[in-house]
């Protein structure tokens, strides 16, 4: 029996990450709590090396390996890089928070890296099973992360809900995939696409499968009506985990949409387009309107996320390369904004005090004008006000939808953004016009301060100079989907 070594170059980052995180897992067992910083430092180092491997291996064209099950194209590389950077920021922002809550343990970092590995596998999947493999790795790690604060009833409840609903969603997805397999006879995405395009597959079975696939995907992205887990998980998890849940997994979900819908089910664009319209419209409506009634900051941001993801779907459903690129741009912008918002919330929290109410932001300008300004930038970007990256994200998505000829959808999206602006501006009003409940300025470690500054300034700078990022997204999408 012979065993041919597969071509490993495209998988180097994943292999390294897996090796490193196993090593860190072992190492963590043997160090005392006082030296726990080492785990953190090694984890950051591992991310750095993974990112370096990723960047060094970059080439302008797509590589595939493991018999074509794993694909490494420009889109995958860009998205993976975004995910790695996001996870790195998550680790940095949450360090002090974790230290003061007994979460500064090896599990947190190892689980984060397992989740990241799952994300990377999902992003590169070219085969239904690989996709599912990555998805489960991510889901299970996330579930454990949410429940990391074992003695918190709310965290356990959130984890339980997520686990059950994710299992249900996985079931729906697998059921849909099996239908597709039945209709087309293949699990390889390009072959599925070919089979559909050739017209050999039974359209009824295909649409049947498609509905289940869209349901499974929508759960991952957290859009209506598959969004119910989002607010509870956001609120129930420790803020450090919420920060993670709201960023990197969304990147994976975006890749999931691109691979499955655009890659494998591309020929059925007219079918999934109208399904996504329903989902997107409901998400923007429910997300924005419900966010207004929230008093809990994390819950408000959860609904805000739902509306953002609905907006992002607009880019995908426009069904053009420019639309996909605009959705990708929106995703990157969203990740930046979400990191900034939760990063600042983490900063507001202290020993034994969880800053998760809107009230806690009152008078922030009097306490720490610099951080209030950072939050201001994040909020105007989320609301999509010009001179922030959020404005260009919304603009490019809307122009893609306009090009697809769905003017009414653009009008609707703008109206929803208008409603959304209310609760973002309310945050600004609380920070700048209300009297603070307490006077003490925020304290934070230097790395946290510097990173949050960079994060918010990136939102501003990319709002003035958005072109490089737009070009990057265009190039990634263009090179990956045309070939």
């Amino acid at each position: 029996m012979t065993f041919a070594t597969p071509y490993l170059a495209p998988v180097y980052p994943e292999i390294f990450l897996l090796t490193a995180l196993s090593a860190i897992l072992m190492l963590d067992l043997f160090i005392s709590d006082s030296k726990r910083f080492l785990t953190y430092a090694y984890s950051q180092l591992a991310l750095l090396v993974t990112a370096a491997l990723l960047v060094m291996g970059a080439s302008g064209h797509a590589l595939s390996t493991f018999g074509g099950m794993f694909i490494d194209d420009p889109m995958a590389r860009t998205l993976k890089l975004v995910a790695i950077v996001a996870v790195s920021f998550v680790m940095a922002y949450s360090r002090t928070y974790n230290q003061s809550r007994g979460l500064f343990r090896g599990e947190f970092y190892v689980l984060l890296m397992f989740a990241l590995l799952g994300i990377m596998v999902m992003i590169s999947a070219n085969h239904f099973l690989v996709l599912y493999l990555g998805l489960e790795l991510l889901s299970l790690s996330m579930c454990a992360l949410i429940a990391l604060q074992r003695d918190s009833a709310r965290a356990s409840e959130a984890a339980m809900k997520y686990f059950v609903l994710a299992a249900l969603a996985s079931g729906l997805l697998l059921y849909g995939l099996s239908m597709l397999y039945g209709a087309t006879g293949s699990l390889f995405m390009p072959m599925v696409a070919n089979a559909i395009a050739s017209g050999a597959a039974d359209p009824a079975i295909l649409v049947f499968g498609l509905v289940f696939v869209v349901a499974g995907l929508s759960f991952k992205l957290g859009v209506v009506p598959f969004h119910m887990w989002v607010p509870d998980v956001y609120e129930g998890s420790p803020t450090a985990v919420t920060l993670f849940v709201s960023t990197a997994p969304k990147v994976a979900a975006f890749a999931f949409f691109m691979r499955l819908l655009v890659g494998a089910l591309g020929p059925m664009v007219s079918d999934w387009q109208s399904m996504l319209v329903i989902v997107a419209v409901l998400s923007m409506l429910l997300g924005n309107v419900t966010a207004i009634a929230q008093t809990n900051l994390k819950r408000m941001l959860a609904y805000s996320t739902i509306s953002h993801m609905g907006f992002l779907l607009l880019g995908i459903l426009s069904g053009s390369l420019a639309g996909y690129a605009s959705a990708m741009f929106y995703m990157v912008a969203y990740v930046m904004m979400s990191l900034g918002a939760f990063g600042l919330i983490l900063m507001l929290s202290r020993d034994g005090f969880e800053a998760d109410q809107l009230e806690d932001l009152k008078g922030l300008n009097k306490r720490s004008p610099w951080y209030a300004f950072m939050m201001l930038l994040v909020m105007i970007s989320m609301a999509g006000i010009p001179v922030s990256v959020g404005f260009f994200a919304k603009l490019s998505v809307l122009s893609a939808v306009l090009d697809a000829g769905m003017t009414w959808l653009v009008v609707f999206a703008v109206m929803m953004s208008l409603i959304g602006a209310f609760y973002y501006l309310r945050v600004i009003k609380l920070m700048y016009m209300d009297e603070p409940v307490e006077e003490s300025p925020l304290v934070a470690e230097t790395d946290h301060r510097v990173l949050i500054g960079l994060n918010a300034l990136a939102i501003l700078v990319l709002g003035i100079v958005p072109q490089p990022l737009i070009d990057l997204c265009m190039a990634s999408i263009g090179q990956s989907l045309r070939g």
């Binding site: 339980m160 809900k161 059950v164 609903l165 249900l168 969603a169 729906l172 359209p203 009824a204 649409v207 049947f208 509905v211 289940f212 869209v214 349901a215 929508s218 759960f219 209506v224 009506p225 598959f226 119910m228 887990w229 607010p231 509870d232 079918d271 399904m275 329903i278 429910l286 309107v289 419900t290 966010a291 207004i292 009634a293 929230q294 409603i419 209310f422 003035i464 100079v465 072109q467």
Partner: protein, 650 residues
């Protein structure tokens, strides 16, 4: 380093300085802040000098630096147009700004807002550079507004003083009026020319010269006339022309260095520069130029009268700025754009000199500004005195100082012009010469000559200012003395500006002047035999007679002509009129709209829909029950809906 990166360096160096001093002022400390900002402006100045040499070697540049965004048919870009006109402005702006920066080190050394001040003046320099270097209307407008914003911040720098807050609000509001006109002008250009790029607009202008638009009634008005007058309204706001001049005297509430920067090199020159830049448009509309000429002439004359009765040293200089801006505007109206820029340049030097000199006096007098409490200062402050004499001679237009050349050129240009209103303008600028000489030497005599009138304590502490103050004075005195002699021939008579400025044949007196040009020596000889020179001498002699010899006479005159004095003292009642008519009128109109329109109609609709959303929001919130089986049910239900929709459709 390529020229392109030098172009970028010119505006970005002051911006970097402003950001460093503004954001990290505390960390940098006072010394650190002034070092970074001065360094930034110095780099900018040196780069401007290098670029100037390159430009006069024939290397022009017009290109896009960065495309901000592109829509259907217009693109919004940041771009530079580097030609002789731009470079001249860059040199003036960076040089004067550099002097002001250095001077500030001495003048503001006790102020708690030291870093903030340096940050603002660097930002001001950046804004002005963006304005002059622009190659399109959008960036021009950006610079225009940025200058307005920073001037607001600077005039109200001492924000705890109610008068400063009043002054900066006034400056801001009056500039809004001008900016509205400017914005409308740009809008018309975009609508009719289809572009915001200078080169494109100028190239299309002759084709649209005969076009007309209907404004209020059916009677059509020439398009270019409307555009030019709207643009000029913008210039009136920034360059303080009547009746939008009211903000400038009040802007004295800011610290003295900023008065020098606003009055000499930045802000007020923006309007003059803009009209010169738009010369291809203005040349096509004689009506617009007549408006420019008459407004300029009125400003030159009536504002000069106001200078006579002021007792605060900075206010005298402020009114002289208004009057001199009127002169520049007259030159614009007479199609003598190069002369206007020439006067702008010489004026920048001697006006900055006079302001900084006044600041030096105020500094020495412990922030006393009233000239009635000064006198005899020349013994105590010799350097300030000598430089002030040079500045005053330049302002009065005595050869061979800079002001003589530029002012005489303006007078000759307007005399040679045949445009409507030229007669009135000639009269105004000639009378203006006498008045200018009178008030500038009145100021000089009251401050530096005669018996000291300050109290004993102040007198004991009188001393010459430190070197950071006197060195800029000396450095500004040199160009105030010589630039006129050196530059009149190339700038006004020669081809200095190349194609940057358009003067159509037959427009204005510039062509005639060039034909009669026989060299600079001849110009001086001719000037010394002409009327303006003798008017200036008469002005100085009158000032000497009234304020050195018969010092009791001014009071007698004031008593005799009480009515006239009151009129001047109330500045022709412009402020009063604005207050009663515009401020109170606007309040009345506003409250009427508020009651009728806002409260009943708009609030009804807005609050109504807000309530609706709120109620809806409360309902939706209740879907989130927290029960896992509800959640699962909703997911399944979602699948069911999607599924049935598709199978119903199929």
């Amino acid at each position: 380093m390529s020229m392109f990166s030098l172009y970028l360096l010119v505006p970005l160096a002051p911006l970097a300085g402003a950001l460093l001093a503004g954001l990290f002022g505390k960390a940098l400390g006072r010394t650190g802040s002034h070092v970074v900002t001065i360094l930034g402006v110095a780099i900018s100045f040196v780069a401007s000098v290098v670029i100037a040499q390159d430009v006069f070697a024939g290397h022009l540049f017009n290109g896009t630096v960065y495309t901000w965004m592109t829509t259907e048919d217009i693109s919004l870009v940041v771009g530079f147009l580097i030609d002789p006109l731009t470079v001249t402005m860059m040199l003036i702006v960076t040089f004067v700004s550099l002097m002001v920066h250095i001077y500030t080190v001495g003048y503001m050394h006790e102020d708690p807002g030291y870093q903030r001040f340096f940050s603002y003046i660097s930002l001001f320099t950046f804004s002005m550079l963006m304005l002059v270097m622009s190659n399109n209307f959008l960036q021009l407008f950006f610079g225009w507004e940025a200058v307005g914003l920073v001037s607001y911040l600077l005039i109200g720098f001492w924000y705890t003083r109610p008068t400063a807050i009043y002054a900066n609000l006034k400056a801001f509001l009056v500039n809004r009026v001008g900016d509205l006109g400017f914005l409308l002008g740009i809008g018309l250009i975009l609508a009719h020319f289809g572009s915001l790029d200078y080169a494109t607009v100028f190239a299309r202008a002759p084709l649209l010269a005969q076009d007309s638009i209907a404004l209020l009634s059916d009677s059509p008005v020439s398009l270019l006339t409307v555009v030019c007058i709207l643009l000029f309204i913008g210039a009136m706001g920034k360059s303080a022309q009547m009746p939008l001049h009211v903000w400038l005297p009040d802007s004295m509430e800011g610290p003295t260095p900023i008065s020098a920067l606003i009055h000499a090199a930045t802000m007020v020159t923006a309007g003059i520069f803009m009209v010169s830049r738009m010369s291809p448009l203005f040349e096509l509309s004689e009506t617009a130029r007549t408006v420019v000429l008459v407004v300029g002439a009125s400003t030159a004359l009536f504002m000069a009268f106001l200078g006579i009765i002021q007792n605060h040293i900075k206010r005298v200089v402020a009114y002289s700025t208004l009057s001199q801006l009127g002169y520049m505007t007259v030159a614009l109206g007479a199609s003598a754009y190069p002369v206007a820029i020439f006067h702008l340049g010489t004026h920048a030097f001697f006006k900055a000199l006079l302001f900084l000199g006044a600041g030096s006096v105020i500094h020495a007098m412990h922030h006393e500004q009233d000239m009635r409490n000064m006198g005899g200062l020349r013994k105590y402050m010799p350097i300030t005195y000598v430089t002030a004499v040079i500045g005053s001679l330049a302002l009065a237009g005595i050869p061979p100082f800079a002001g003589f050349f530029s002012k005489d050129a303006i007078i000759e240009a307007v005399q040679g012009s045949t445009i409507q209103g030229a007669g009135y303008a000639t009269f105004a600028v000639l009378v203006g010469v006498f008045v200018t000489a009178f008030y500038s030497f009145r100021m000089l005599f009251m401050t530096f000559h005669g018996k000291p009138r300050m109290d004993h304590h102040t007198r004991e502490h009188l001393h010459e200012s430190p070197w950071v103050i006197t060195v800029p004075l000396i450095l500004l005195a040199i160009p105030s003395a010589v630039t006129g002699y050196l530059y009149i021939e190339p700038m006004v008579m020669g081809q200095y500006f190349g194609n940057a400025i358009t003067v159509l044949p037959g427009n204005g007196g510039l062509h005639a002047m060039r034909e009669e040009w026989h060299g600079v020596g001849e110009f001086i000889m001719h000037g010394m035999m002409a009327l303006p020179f003798w008017l200036a001498l008469a002005g100085i002699a009158t000032a000497a007679a009234l304020y050195l010899k018969w010092t009791h006479v001014p009071a007698a005159i004031q008593a005799r002509f009480g009515g006239l004095y009151t009129l001047l003292d109330h500045k022709y009642y412009f402020d009063r009129f604005n207050e009663v008519f515009f401020a109170h009128g606007a309040l009345k109109v506003g409250s009427a709209f508020w009651h009728k329109g806002d409260v009943s109609v708009i609030d009804g609709a807005v609050n109504g829909s807000a309530h609706l959303v709120e109620r809806f929001s409360g309902r939706l919130r209740r879907i989130q029950t927290g029960y896992i089986y509800h959640y699962a049910f909703i997911m399944i239900f979602g699948v069911f809906i999607l599924m049935s929709l598709w199978f119903v459709k199929a």
